[in-house]
C-alpha cells in the first residue's frame, strides 16, 4: 500500500514518476505521534530549567549546520525538546498548563519549539471570574468570559487543576475533597468542575475539560478521582466524552497513608470500562531523576516536605499557582514502585484503548524520551516482568501486574500514542493517515508482520526510540535520529465565536485593573506573538 502526500496533506494519489519516494516496506508506518499532555513551555517549565543546571550538565546537544544547540534532560531547552520529539516520530504536542497572565511567555517559547505543531491549555479552574459567575449561577456569562479568555490567550482547551485548591493556596490553604468550600468564594470544586464542563459544552470546544483532580498525590485519592468523574456523568451526551482526567496514575492511590498505599487502578478501570464519558492519560512513572512541576501549588509543597528537595512556588494573581520540586523515582522505594505499577495497570485494565493515552505527564513522572520504554511495557509481559523483578519486593507482591496477561498490539499502540489522543483533542487532521489528513508520518524500522513484540520487545523499543523517518507537513524532517531540517510547527488555538461577546466597557477595564496589576490593553496575546498561527474557528452555542 502506498501513501501519497502533496502540499502537506495526504492525498489520493500523486504523479509517481515525479514524486520523491520513501521505501517503507517491512516497516511500521504510523501517523505522527500526538502528546496530549507534556509540560514543555511557559513560566513553570522555564523556572524548572533555571532551577536545575545539574539536570543539563550531563546532557547536551551540539550545534550542527542544521540545528541549534541545547541541553536536556528532564527539562530540555526549547529547540532540543522539538528535536527529541521529532526523532521519536512525534509531530503534535500539547502544553497543558498556561497561567493566562503569563500566556505571552508560553507562546514565545512555543515559537522556539521547532518540528512539532502545538497547542496550550489556559488554567481556568481558579480564575476569579469563573468562581464568581459560577457562584452566581450565570453559566452563559461565564461561558462568554471563558471564550474571551481562550481566544485572548490563544489557548486550546479548558484546563482545571486542583479546582478551588489553588485559590485557597494563595493564602496557604487547600481543599480536601470535591465538596469542600473554597475560602471567601463559597463555591465547591464540584460546582467548578460541573460549571466548566457545561461551559465547555456551550462553547462546543473540540476537547473536553482537562482535569487534574483535587487531592492529587495523596493516599486514598482514587475516591476523589472517581467522585470527579461521577460528578459530570449526567452532563455527557451521545456517548461523547465530557471529561479528561489527566495523569491518572497520580490520582489512583488507595490506602490511608504512605505505608498502606495500594493501587486504586482496578476501581478506576472498572468505572471507566462501564462509562463512556471519560478519557484518561497515564502519567506513567519512569525510574529516573526528573523535575516535577504542576500548577498544583499545595501538592508541590507537600512533595517538598516529603523529599526535602529544593522547592519553587509561583502563585499568579487572580488565576492560579504553581510549584516545582526535583524528584527521583527509585525502583527500591515502595511508593515509587507502586506508582510505576499503577500507571501500567490503568493502561492494561482499561479495555478500550480510545479511553486511555500514553503520557508521562512530562516531566512529572519522567521525561518524554522514555516513551519507547512504556510502549515496550505495554506490548510485552516479559518487559514488565524484567522491571518487576527489580523493584521493591513489597511493592511487587502488591502489584496487580503479574495477574495481567494483556499485551497491546501495534494497532493499539498507535491508538494510545496518536489516534486516541488526536480524537480526544478533536484534531480531525491528526492521528490518522486518511485522505485529507496532515502529512505527519512516522516510520519505524521494525516489521510488524514478522516480529513478536512480546518476546523481542528490545528491538521494538529501539525502533520506537528513533524513527527511521519523521515526515512533518510533507517534509522529511528527521531520519534515523538525524534532524534533516529545522521546521517551525504551527501553534493551534481556538477562535471561539460567541453570538454576544463580552463588552469591554470602562467598567470592565476598571474591574480588570482591580483584579490584575496590568492594564486590559496589555493582557491579551496578540497574533503577533504566534510565529505560525493556526486559528481554529469554533461556533459557540451562546
Amino acid at each position: 500500500m502506498d501513501i501519497a502526500i502533496k502540499d502537506g496533506k495526504i492525498v489520493e494519489r500523486v504523479d509517481e514518476l515525479r514524486a520523491r519516494k520513501i521505501y517503507a516496506s517491512g516497516m511500521i508506518v504510523m501517523p505522527g505521534g500526538v502528546d496530549i499532555h507534556c509540560h514543555i513551555a511557559g513560566s513553570e517549565v522555564n523556572t524548572g530549567r533555571l532551577l536545575r543546571p545539574e539536570d543539563h550538565f550531563r546532557d547536551f546537544e551540539r550545534k550542527t549546520p542544521k540545528t541549534r544547540s541545547g541541553v536536556g534532560y528532564s527539562v530540555p531547552s526549547t529547540f532540543t525538546t522539538g528535536y527529541r520529539y521529532a526523532r521519536m516520530g512525534y509531530t503534535t504536542i500539547m502544553n497543558p498548563s498556561m497561567p493566562p497572565l503569563e500566556a505571552k511567555h508560553t507562546h514565545e517559547e512555543l515559537n522556539d519549539t521547532p518540528m512539532v505543531d502545538k497547542g496550550t491549555y489556559p488554567l481556568l479552574g481558579d480564575w476569579w471570574f469563573v468562581l464568581e459567575y459560577l457562584k452566581k449561577g450565570e453559566i452563559e456569562e461565564c461561558a462568554r468570559y471563558v471564550a474571551w479568555m481562550i481566544t485572548s490567550t490563544k489557548g486550546y482547551a479548558i484546563k482545571i487543576v486542583n479546582p478551588g485548591g489553588l485559590e485557597a493556596w494563595g493564602s496557604g490553604g487547600n481543599v480536601g475533597s470535591i465538596d469542600d468550600q473554597v475560602p471567601y468564594f463559597g463555591i465547591t470544586p464540584r460546582e467548578i468542575v460541573r460549571g466548566l464542563c457545561k461551559v465547555n459544552k456551550l462553547l462546543n470546544l473540540p476537547h473536553t475539560i482537562h482535569v487534574h483532580t483535587n487531592n492529587l498525590g495523596k493516599p486514598g485519592n482514587y475516591l476523589t478521582a472517581l467522585d470527579t468523574m461521577k460528578c459530570v456523568e449526567d452532563l455527557a451526551s451521545e456517548d461523547k466524552p465530557a471529561i479528561h482526567i489527566t495523569h491518572c496514575q497520580f490520582s489512583a492511590f488507595k490506602g490511608s497513608d504512605w505505608r498502606t498505599l495500594k493501587s486504586g487502578a482496578e476501581e478506576i478501570a472498572r468505572y471507566v470500562n462501564n462509562h463512556s464519558h471519560v478519557t484518561l492519560d497515564m502519567g506513567q512513572v519512569i525510574f529516573t531523576d526528573t523535575t516535577t512541576m504542576t500548577a498544583d501549588g499545595p501538592f508541590q509543597y507537600t512533595l517538598h516536605e516529603l523529599s526535602g528537595n529544593k522547592w519553587v512556588n509561583h502563585d499568579v494573581e487572580t488565576e492560579t499557582s504553581s510549584g516545582i520540586v526535583p524528584f527521583r523515582y527509585r525502583r527500591k522505594s515502595y511508593v515509587h514502585a507502586i506508582q510505576w505499577s499503577i500507571g501500567l495497570e490503568l493502561a492494561l485494565l482499561i479495555k478500550d484503548p480510545w479511553k486511555i493515552f500514553m503520557t508521562t505527564d512530562h516531566p512529572n513522572a519522567g521525561p518524554f524520551i522514555f516513551y519507547p520504554r512504556i510502549m515496550a511495557w505495554l506490548m510485552s509481559r516479559k518487559a514488565r516482568e524484567a522491571v518487576l523483578n527489580r523493584i521493591n519486593r513489597r511493592a511487587r507482591n502488591r502489584s496487580l501486574l503479574p495477574s495481567i496477561d494483556r499485551e497491546l498490539g501495534f494497532y493499539e499502540i498507535a491508538i494510545v500514542t496518536r489516534a486516541g489522543q488526536a480524537k480526544a483533542l478533536g484534531l480531525k487532521n491528526k492521528g490518522h493517515l486518511g485522505v485529507g489528513a496532515d502529512a505527519d508520518v512516522a516510520i519505524y524500522n521494525v516489521n510488524p508482520e514478522t516480529i513478536d513484540p512480546s518476546r523481542k520487545y528490545k528491538t521494538v523499543r529501539k525502533a520506537f526510540r528513533q524513527a527511521a523517518y519523521t515526515v512533518k507537513g510533507g517534509e522529511t524532517v528527521a531520519k534515523n535520529g538525524e534532524i534533516l531540517k529545522h521546521v517551525k510547527g504551527t501553534t493551534m488555538w481556538l477562535d471561539v465565536q460567541v453570538s454576544e461577546p463580552i463588552k469591554i466597557t470602562e467598567e470592565m477595564k476598571r474591574r480588570f485593573r482591580e483584579y490584575w496589576t496590568v492594564e486590559y490593553e496589555n493582557y491579551p496575546v496578540t497574533e503577533k506573538y504566534l510565529e505560525v498561527s493556526h486559528p481554529i474557528t469554533v461556533k459557540a452555542n451562546v
Binding site: A41, S43, N46, T47, R49, L50, L51, R52, P53, D55, H56, F60, R62, K63, R68, S69, G70, V71, V75, P76, S77, T78, F79, L101, E102, K104, H105, E108, E109, D112, G170, S171, G172, Y184, Y301, H304, K310, W311, V312, N313, H314, D315, V316, E317, T318, S321, I324, V325, R513, E514, Y515, W516, T517, V518, E519, Y520, E521, N522, T526, Y529
Partner: protein, 485 residues
C-alpha cells in the same frame, strides 16, 4: 496631537504599564502616571546625546559610515575572534535577545547579561534552595506584612510600594497609604525643624538624633498592613516604614540566620545580632510567623554585599522555613526593566540564565568561569559586542581596561562611556519608545513594549541590527568554508 494609553514604561523592573503619553509632532510632550525616572526617559529620548549614524574608529577617530559598512566590520571582528563576549541585554527586548543568542551560538562566544553584576548571586542561591514566590498582584491582594531588605524602592522603584505592595488596594487587604501620608508629612516637618535648628545654632553638620531606637516601634503592632525596612542606613523607604531595622554593614547574613533560628524556635545566646537586640528580633520573628501572607523583597544590598549568594541563600531559606508556619513569599527587586526577561530567554534557549559559553558548540554555564567579568579579568576574550549597556562605566577598572583593549562593538542609542571607547558603533532605537518588543516584569509577567514615536531617520532597533550582523556573519563563515575547500 495624540494620546497613547496603557504604555509600558521601559525603566525599572516594576514595568508600570499604565503610562499615558501625549505626542505632538513625533515627540513625546507629556507623561501621565509615571514616576520621575519614567518621565525623564520618555521626555528626553530625542536629546543631544543620541548617536544618529553608525561609526567606525579609523586612526583613532570616529568616522561616520554606512550601516552596511559597520555591519560588515562588526561581522568581521566577530568571526575573526576566538573567544568573543556578548554582553548587556537587560535594557533591550526579549526579541533582540533571541537574535543575540543565535549570534553567540554562531560565533562560539560567551553571552552574558547584567545580572552577573546584580542579582547573579541570587540566581545561584535559587538554584541551591529554590524560591517561594508569586506575581505582584498576589501581594497587592493578600500581603499583610511587607519587608524590604537591602533595597530602597522609594528611590529605585518609585511606584513599587504604591502599585504593588503597602499602598495598593487589594481584594483582601486594604491600602495603608493614609498612615504613610501622615508619616511622610511628619518626617518632612521634622527635617525642616532640624534644618532651622541647624541654622539657628550655626551647626554645619546634620542634626543627629541622640539615640537610635533599640526596641520595636508601636506602629509594629497596629492593625492592617505593615511595612518593615531592613537596611544599613535610613533610606527614604525606611522613613515611611512602620519599622526600620538598621543592620550593621555586612551583617545581613547573621541577622537572617538569627531570624531563622528564632522562627525555628531555637534560642539565641547573645544579646545582640548585627546591632539589633535579640528581644527586638523576637518581636519581628513573631510578627513574621503571625502574619497571614508575608513577603520579603530583597535588593542588591543582599546580593552584592559581603557574603553575596550566602546572604540570599539565608533569605530564601528563611522564607522557605516560614512556609511551615504561614504563607510567605520572597522576590528579588530586579533593576533594569527587562533583566528578568533576558534571564528568561537565555534559560529557554540554553537552559541557563546568564554566563552562557558556546565555545564548545553547546551551552555551558559555570559562573566564575564563564561570566564576563571573570573572563575579562583573566584576559581571555579577544573581542566584545555590547548591547544596551555601559560596562566601561560600571565594571571594575581592571575589567573595563581589558574590555577596551580588544575590538569593541557597541549597539546603543547614546554616546556613553562604553560607546566612546568602541571601534564600531551602531545607533539604535529605544525599545519601548521607538521600537516595540516584549519585556518581563520582576515577577515574570510578560508585557508588550509599544512603539509610540518613530526613531530618528535610519536608526534601527537592536533586533534588526543584530539580525543584519547575524546574516553577515553567516555569509562570512560560508565564504571562509568555501575558501578553505
Amino acid at each position: 496631537m495624540a494620546v497613547v494609553k496603557a504604555v509600558t514604561c521601559p525603566v525599572c523592573g516594576c514595568l508600570c504599564d499604565d503610562i499615558e503619553l501625549t505626542i505632538r509632532n513625533g515627540k513625546i510632550v507629556k507623561v501621565k502616571n509615571g514616576c520621575a525616572m519614567c518621565e525623564s526617559k520618555f521626555l528626553s529620548h530625542k536629546n543631544e546625546h543620541r548617536i544618529l549614524k553608525p561609526l567606525i574608529r579609523k586612526n583613532g577617530e570616529f568616522v561616520e559610515v554606512s550601516l552596511e559598512e559597520a555591519t560588515r566590520k562588526a561581522a568581521e571582528i566577530l568571526t575573526k575572534a576566538n573567544y568573543p563576549i556578548l554582553y548587556g541585554w537587560s535594557s533591550t527586548s526579549c526579541e533582540a535577545t533571541r537574535v543575540g543568542l543565535e549570534l553567540a551560538e554562531e560565533i562560539g562566544g560567551v553571552i552574558d547579561n547584567t545580572a552577573v553584576v546584580c542579582h547573579g548571586p541570587s540566581i545561584l542561591s535559587i538554584q541551591d534552595v529554590g524560591i517561594s514566590s508569586c506575581t505582584l498582584g498576589q501581594i497587592r491582594h493578600r500581603a499583610d506584612l511587607v519587608v524590604y531588605w537591602g533595597s530602597n524602592p522609594w528611590s529605585a522603584h518609585p511606584r513599587h510600594i504604591e502599585r504593588y505592595t503597602a499602598f495598593s488596594e487589594g481584594r483582601f487587604q486594604k491600602s495603608a497609604w493614609k498612615g504613610y501620608l501622615t508619616k511622610v508629612k511628619a518626617s518632612a516637618a521634622k527635617k525642616k525643624i532640624e534644618s532651622a535648628l541647624r541654622r539657628v545654632l550655626f551647626r554645619k553638620k546634620a542634626f543627629v538624633s541622640p539615640k537610635p531606637r533599640k526596641g520595636p516601634p508601636p506602629t509594629l503592632f497596629k492593625e492592617g498592613r505593615k511595612l518593615i525596612v531592613v537596611d544599613v542606613r535610613k533610606t527614604r523607604s525606611a522613613e515611611i516604614s512602620d519599622c526600620f531595622l538598621q543592620v550593621e554593614p555586612n551583617k545581613d547574613y547573621e541577622l537572617l540566620q538569627a531570624l531563622r533560628a528564632l522562627i525555628n524556635e531555637q534560642e539565641i545566646d547573645v544579646d545582640e545580632v548585627a546591632g539589633i537586640p535579640v528581644e527586638y528580633l523576637e518581636e519581628i520573628a513573631d510578627l513574621m510567623i503571625g502574619c497571614n501572607f508575608g513577603v520579603l523583597f530583597f535588593g542588591v544590598g543582599l546580593s552584592m554585599s559581603k557574603g553575596k549568594l550566602r546572604n540570599v541563600d539565608a533569605a530564601l531559606s528563611l522564607v522557605r522555613d516560614l512556609n511551615m508556619r504561614t504563607k510567605f513569599v520572597i522576590m528579588p527587586m530586579r533593576g533594569h526593566f527587562n533583566v528578568t526577561g533576558v534571564d528568561t530567554v537565555f534559560t529557554w534557549q540554553t537552559g541557563y540564565p546568564y554566563a552562557v559559553d558556546f565555545s564548545l558548540g553547546y551551552p555551558r554555564y559555570n559562573p566564575g568561569e564563564t561570566s564576563v567579568v571573570d573572563i575579562l579579568l583573566r584576559g581571555e576574550s579577544d573581542a566584545a559586542l555590547i548591547v544596551a549597556s555601559d560596562p566601561v562605566a560600571s565594571f571594575p577598572k581592571k575589567v573595563a581596561e581589558q574590555l577596551v583593549k580588544n575590538p569593541l562593538i557597541v549597539i546603543d542609542p547614546h554616546m556613553s562611556a562604553t560607546t566612546r571607547m568602541a571601534d564600531v558603533v551602531f545607533p539604535s532605537a529605544f525599545v519601548g519608545i521607538e521600537a516595540s518588543g516584549t519585556a518581563y516584569r520582576m515577577d515574570h509577567v510578560p508585557l508588550p513594549l509599544k512603539k509610540v514615536v518613530n526613531p530618528p531617520n535610519g536608526v534601527l532597533p537592536d533586533e534588526e541590527i543584530l539580525k543584519r550582523i547575524l546574516v553577515e556573519v553567516k555569509k562570512l563563515k560560508e565564504k571562509r568554508l568555501v575558501e578553505a575547500a
